[in-house]
């Protein structure tokens, strides 16, 4: 009798987890429905977001989310691979362990800390030493002028991507390192025995060996960047316009929700924000699902 009860309790707990995820989807779909019903496809394609006239088009935040995530991934990925390869292959063991532990610990630092650093340290520095000189030196009307235009306060899409990159870097480096450590030493030694240089061993043996897992980690990093709220909200500048230059202020889905939700002016504003949440959920869910499928086929 107690046996049955205990098993039932365990089963109920496992089911509750599933119900939680289902609950997220259902509640977002119900809450966001008025916005989808009113604006239809225009919700995704229009970039007019105006709480005063009650017109909501989310193209600005959606594009902002995708751009910042992919740019941050492009910055963080080579660095993360470099760090993990260095730790696994080239670094003396006595240094590699503490550095690896430090990297893993840094992956746990709350994102609000990164956000504050971005706002108070990175943004002013960036505005003064990068943005202003670039704007000053660009000829009016040239392509540089277009790309670098924007308010020179350091709060823009590019600095937001930089912060995101710094945030996902330790996480990705830590998991890459674990992946590389799963490569059996025999495989590695065989390649060295054939006279390969370390670079060739890594490029032609180790990376192909864990390729699926690496794609999984990249997707996990992407999932993090897509859903990250606080680090971005501090520094992206919070404008709903379609980003038109690298240094334009913008917004992401998460930052829009964080900024406006408690101050939403009306039913439709709330509905539009929840609908945005559903869009974010669908994007991250597909990315994470692919990541998990790839990673679970490669046990690490």
């Amino acid at each position: 009798m107690g046996d049955m009860l205990f098993q039932a309790a365990c089963f109920a707990a496992a089911t509750l987890l599933m119900a939680a995820l289902a609950g997220v989807v259902i509640s977002l779909a119900i809450g966001g429905w008025p916005a989808f019903a009113k604006f239809g496809l225009g919700f995704l394609t229009s970039s007019e977001w105006n709480p005063v006239t009650e017109v909501y088009g989310a193209a600005g935040p959606i594009v902002g989310t995708l751009v910042t995530s992919f740019v941050s991934l492009a910055i963080a990925l080579p660095l993360a691979i470099g760090v993990s390869v260095f730790l696994v292959e080239f670094c003396p063991r006595q240094i590699a362990r503490p550095v690896a532990i430090a990297v893993e610990l840094l992956a746990g630092i709350p994102s609000i800390v990164y956000g504050m650093w971005g706002l108070f340290v990175l943004a002013p520095w960036f505005a003064e030493h990068v943005q202003l000189p670039l704007i000053m030196n660009a000829e009016p009307g040239s392509w540089q002028d277009k790309i670098f235009s924007g308010v020179p306060n350091g709060a823009n899409i590019f600095t937001a991507s930089l912060i995101l990159a710094i945030m996902i870097l330790p996480y990705m480096a830590a998991v890459f390192r674990e992946l590389f450590l799963t490569v059996p030493p025999q495989v590695r030694e065989a390649a060295y025995g054939l006279g390969c240089t370390p670079f060739e061993v890594i490029r032609s043996i180790i990376i192909p060996y864990v390729r699926r897992g690496m794609v999984g980690v990249v997707m996990l990093g992407l999932g993090r960047a897509l859903g990250e709220t606080m680090a971005v909200t501090f520094i992206i500048g919070n404008s709903h316009a379609f980003p038109d230059s690298a240094f334009a202020s913008g917004s992401t889905i998460a930052s829009t929700i964080a900024n406006e939700f408690t101050e939403a002016t009306g039913e439709m504003h709330t509905a539009a924000l929840i609908a945005l949440g559903l869009v974010l959920f669908l994007i991250t869910f597909s990315v994470l699902a692919v990541a998990r499928a790839l990673l679970s086929s490669q046990k690490y």
Binding site: F11, L79, G277
Partner: protein, 280 residues
């Protein structure tokens, strides 16, 4: 032939240098962040931060209401998360992990593990705030619990799978029921691992801001009433950091330093415990 060898050596050298540089850049950026955190945070950190509540701009005050609020909500969240997470992890490890349903649960748990926390906040808003017409610390605790539970589930399953099969067989052979074996033998021998899972979950939620913004909202007064809005360290930092007042910003840095130190030490303790278990 000689040229080819030179080229390969050169390529290799360039690669080693690039990897070293990447490590330097990454560590440099992270050290910069920690350095400004310590530099800016230590200045604002004194006894008043712990003993006084949130000040009006320009007057003396601290973060005690936010610190206590954070501890309350995290504690309740961990109680929910430990109960549900340990039971769910036990089910995956001991009962239904290999069934199709078990695979689905494990997969969705992994997705939930890295789902954007702000969406959990929206969900709990729809679930607990809107129907009851008010922000409350309960809603905040539930939102945090949703974030911690997948972590506890995952570590519980992993750690239970590491327990020796002979332990289970020995218990069964003495005539104990399966649930008795799990509760009295397996959980006991996996205790340190279960604590580690709890600590990792705790470290994760103690710095979470996004899910609290529209569940527990924040409160400028000292409150321990879970059915009303409650301040928390992360949301207070968010509010103070974006304000225009220098003394609020100083408090925000002090709070950020507190959170970072707390999260780092919880993680280090959890790790040390995990290492103990593996050795034992």
């Amino acid at each position: 032939m000689f040229d080819r060898m030179m080229f390969r050596q050169f390529l290799n050298g360039a690669f080693v240098v690039a990897c070293g540089l990447a490590t330097l850049i990454a560590l440099g950026a992270l050290i910069l962040i920690l350095w400004s955190l310590v530099q800016q945070g230590l200045g604002g950190l004194d006894l008043k931060v712990f003993t006084m509540t949130q000040p009006a701009p320009g007057s003396v005050g601290g973060l005690s209401n936010a610190i206590v609020g954070s501890i309350f909500m995290c504690a309740w969240a961990m109680i929910f998360a430990l109960v549900v997470g340990v039971l769910a992890g036990t089910w995956l490890a001991e009962y239904g992990g290999d069934t199709p349903y078990g695979h689905v649960v494990r997969f969705l748990n992994d997705v939930l593990l890295s789902a954007p926390s702000i969406l959990v906040g929206l969900f709990v808003y729809e679930l607990l705030v809107r129907p009851f017409h008010g922000f409350s610390a309960w809603a905040g605790a539930v939102a945090l619990a949703f974030l911690a539970t997948p972590i506890v589930t995952r570590t519980t399953e992993d750690i239970l799978n590491l327990q020796a099969g002979a332990l289970r067989e020995a218990g069964m052979a003495l005539g104990a029921s399966k649930s008795f074996v799990i509760r009295k033998i397996i959980w006991k021998s996996a205790r340190a691992g279960l604590v580690t899972g709890g600590l990792l979950g705790f470290a994760r939620i103690s710095g979470e801001t996004a899910p609290l913004l529209f569940t527990s909202l924040g409160n400028q007064f000292f409150s321990t009433d879970m059915s009303h809005p409650m301040a928390s360290l992360p949301t207070t930092i968010f509010q103070f950091a974006l304000s225009a007042y220098d003394d609020w910003r100083r408090l925000a840095w002090a709070g950020a330093l507190l959170i970072a130190v707390a999260v780092l030490s919880i993680n280090i303790i959890g790790r040390a415990l995990a290492r103990e278990t593996r050795r034992a």
